[in-house]
Amino acid sequence: MIKVDSVSKHFGKTKAVDSISFEVQEQENLILLGTSGCGKTTTLKMINRLIEPTSGNIFINGKNIADEQPETLRRSIGYVLQNNGLFPHYTVAENIAIVPNLLKWDKKKTENRTAELMEKLHLTADYLHVYPNELSGGQQQRIGLARALVSDPPVLLMDEPFGALDNVTRANIQKEFKALDELTRKTIIMVTHDVQEAFELGNRICLMDKGTIIQSGTPADLLFKPANKFVKDFLEDQRLQLEFKAIKLIDLWPLLPDHQKDKAHALPANTDIWSALELLRFHNAETIDIRNEQNEIKTIGFEQLMSAFNQYKNKQA
């Protein structure tokens, strides 16, 4: 759906982005990951033409964005800024209504849509008429998200949307974010320098360094088939946790013992190991039931899960 084709951006002598190419499929969630200054923001901003590339082309749905009216293009792309960029002189309701007003929606439609989003983002209607400076950082970030989503744009660009939040708030919002049905239908490009966040939220990850893409692939690809030492080192610190997050139960399916039983409640097999472990640990369960797409069900315990995981890793190596 989005195609970035050998795009470069030079600021004087700085090659902020140096001939990068990647594609994002419809409804995919692509993460641009990398250390500070590697060109993530620059890349993102070229997609809604906040920055014009020095060379190269970007296509959305096969159309070159350079041929489009920038304002029109931008109204069809949701954008969430790192430090939210809410208008301090607008109330929450007015902030959310900016794009609908540009698109000349009628008032009723905007109000309904706003109410719907507020509910989905767990904000009460009391907040509609307060100004951003009266909100907490987490609330502001939610409003920023609501503002980007209000016109239901097919594409969403997010620049470190959770960067400014403390760990607890961030974890909560990330969970909400994953659960939000609005987002599953969208094509999302999200910038982060947080590896955990990238693995948690991304279908695919582009790992960047010094303006170029070092490797792009699924989280498992990066973990088990690192393109070079840079990729390996980048993930080394939190490796075990990342592996638990990257590997799904379905990946281990053949390695898990057969225990056919008919159970009503069973965990879907595309759950990652980390979540399965959390269930076993925190609910003090001896075993859990899991179900694949063919409705086959297995019952597994901690030992069996760990041994399957080790076998899987050995096979990857």
Partner: protein
């Protein structure tokens, strides 16, 4: 009624018509210029916020404009725009420009970059960003600039009366030259109150929250426009001829008040400073002016004096006035100063003034030429028998007299001389004399009688019948009250006079003030 016992309140009540007119004019002038300054400054500020490279030079120029002394700026305006409201408004708006441009620039460049970026990213156009994001967010800063400009304008607008634009300066400067404290305060207090009130109101607006600021931003132009229009209310009436009178003349019994009461003269009048009055008459912006009968510009600009057929202008014979202790300290002084007595009549004085005012010869040169021609010149003895301090008021004739006296003292005595010329008005000069800052200065009998002694109307009518009785009266009173001695009169009578362009006076057949009145009353 004795002027001294009149309270400020009584004065303001008595003059309430004028006070109202001047206040309206003052507010009007302030806000017309402010309105135009906003119209120019706001877009300019926005422009340089976009093109930052230009900001240095634009702010620099506006800054330089601000440092030009206000009187000088008004002076520059006259050759270009004449007199009246136009040059005053232009001068005021130039002063108001800097704070408005600077604050607009600071306000707009100070808008949070991420907010602006969000606006662009959501697909707002440039104009939408300007009007919905940048201007509203910069508004408190811009309002602060407008507030500063308003206060500056209220202050500078007092000077507008110098060039016939009206305002509370008429009272202030009239009061200074008439030595009338009530009059000064009647102008100064309302002017100060205006500044305080507008400052306070604008500070309230500045503190409003965003919602209300938006409303104010729409209301502001309307409000400015309404306040501006106040200026035109008083000046809505016109007339056949236009008179330009100095603030001093306006407030004097032997000036406009006498013209009204004794002659019943009603003429469309604007108040103007002496400095530009004659030229304005020459350039046909004014038809009748209140001048001095020995003024050199009379000759330069082809003006004639109208005969004061009812005798309302008292004699203004000039003579040096000296503190008595100075006469004791410098025994030779009286004799020397009296050398000039009877030597300068009206036409000689007019000619001397013409040379300095119009031919731009220096007062020293004019003084020396005069002494040489009249065989009074002696080279300086370079004496060191003490320093005689000579004062003079701030106009040409007084400079010439001060120079003549200086040369006489140096040539005929062993004293040395220091001159303190350009002492503002009568009050300043006379205070300098009584406070022992100068030893003598040339004064006029009429001024002594009216401005310094502030004689009662009864005495005035009595003693102004002829020049000698006036002289005798002031001589006695000064001696009694201030221990100051009037020496012998120099000879000329520099009285107030109404004058017109010679050509116009001839074609309308106006020779006396009474005939002027008849012409004005005829349909």
């Amino acid at each position: 009624m004795n002027e001294r016992q009149q309270t400020l309140l009584e004065f303001m009540q008595q003059q309430s018509d004028k006070l109202a007119v001047q206040t309206l004019q003052h507010i009007g002038l302030t806000f017309i210029s402010l309105f135009i300054a906003v119209l120019i400054g706001l877009p300019l500020g926005i422009f340089i916020a976009r093109k930052k490279k230009l900001s240095g030079s634009v702010l620099g120029v506006a800054g330089i404009l601000q440092t030009i002394p206000s009187i000088a700026l008004l002076g520059f305006m006259i050759p270009i725009l004449g007199i009246g409201a136009k040059p005053a408004i232009v001068a005021l708006l130039l002063y108001a420009l800097l704070p408005i441009i600077r604050n607009t620039y600071t306000g707009i460049t100070g808008v949070d970059a991420s907010v602006k970026e969000a606006a662009v990213a959501m697909g707002m156009s440039k104009w939408q960003i300007l009007f919905k994001v940048e201007l509203p967010l910069a508004m408190p800063v811009i309002l602060a600039g407008i507030r500063t400009a308003t206060v500056i304008n209220v202050g500078v607008a007092t000077l507008a009366s110098y060039i016939a634009a009206g305002g509370l300066g008429e009272f202030i400067f009239g009061g200074i030259s008439l030595n009338n404290t009530n009059m000064i305060l009647a102008g100064a207090i309302p002017a100060a109150l205006l500044a305080i009130i507008f400052d306070f109101l604008l500070s309230l607006i500045q503190k409003l929250n965003f919602k209300k600021v938006r409303r104010v931003a729409y209301a502001l132009p309307v409000l400015l426009f309404l306040l501006s229009s106040l200026y035109f209310i008083p000046s809505a009436y016109g007339g056949k001829l236009t008179a330009g009178f100095t603030p001093e003349f306006m407030g004097r019994q032997d000036g406009n008040l006498g013209l009204e009461s004794k002659y019943g003269l009603k003429i469309h009048t604007i108040v103007i400073s002496d400095a530009v009055m004659y030229k304005a008459a020459y350039e046909k912006q004014l038809d009748v002016i209140s001048g001095y009968s020995t003024d050199g510009r009379l000759k330069a600009y082809g003006l004639v004096v109208l005969d004061d057929d009812k005798g309302i202008f008292p004699p203004y014979y000039a003579a040096p006035i000296v503190r008595e202790d100075a006469l004791r300290k410098f025994p030779e002084l009286e004799k020397t100063l009296n050398l000039l007595s009877g030597k300068i009549n009206d036409s000689v004085m007019t000619d001397l003034n013409y040379r300095t005012d119009y031919l731009h010869q220096s007062p020293e040169r004019v003084a020396k030429d005069f002494l040489v021609v009249h065989k009074l010149w002696k080279t300086s003895r370079e004496g060191n028998g003490g320093i005689v301090r000579i004062g003079s008021k701030i106009f040409g004739e007084q400079y010439i007299l001060a120079n003549i006296y200086s040369m006489l003292i140096k040539g005929y005595t062993n004293y040395n001389v220091s001159t303190k010329t350009g002492l503002g008005g009568t009050k300043i000069c006379f205070d300098a004399l009584t406070n022992d800052q100068i030893d003598f200065y040339p004064e006029y009998t009429g001024t002594g009688l009216l401005a310094i002694l502030q004689a009662s109307p009864k005495i005035i009518t009595e003693v102004t019948k002829n020049k000698d009785s006036t002289y005798n009266y002031v001589q006695q009173e000064f001696k009694k009250r201030y221990q100051i001695k009037w020496l012998k009169p120099i000879g000329f009578n520099n009285a107030y006079a109404l004058m017109m362009r010679e050509q116009q006076a001839k074609s309308l057949n106006i020779k006396t003030i009474s005939s002027l009145k008849r012409y004005l009353n005829s349909k």
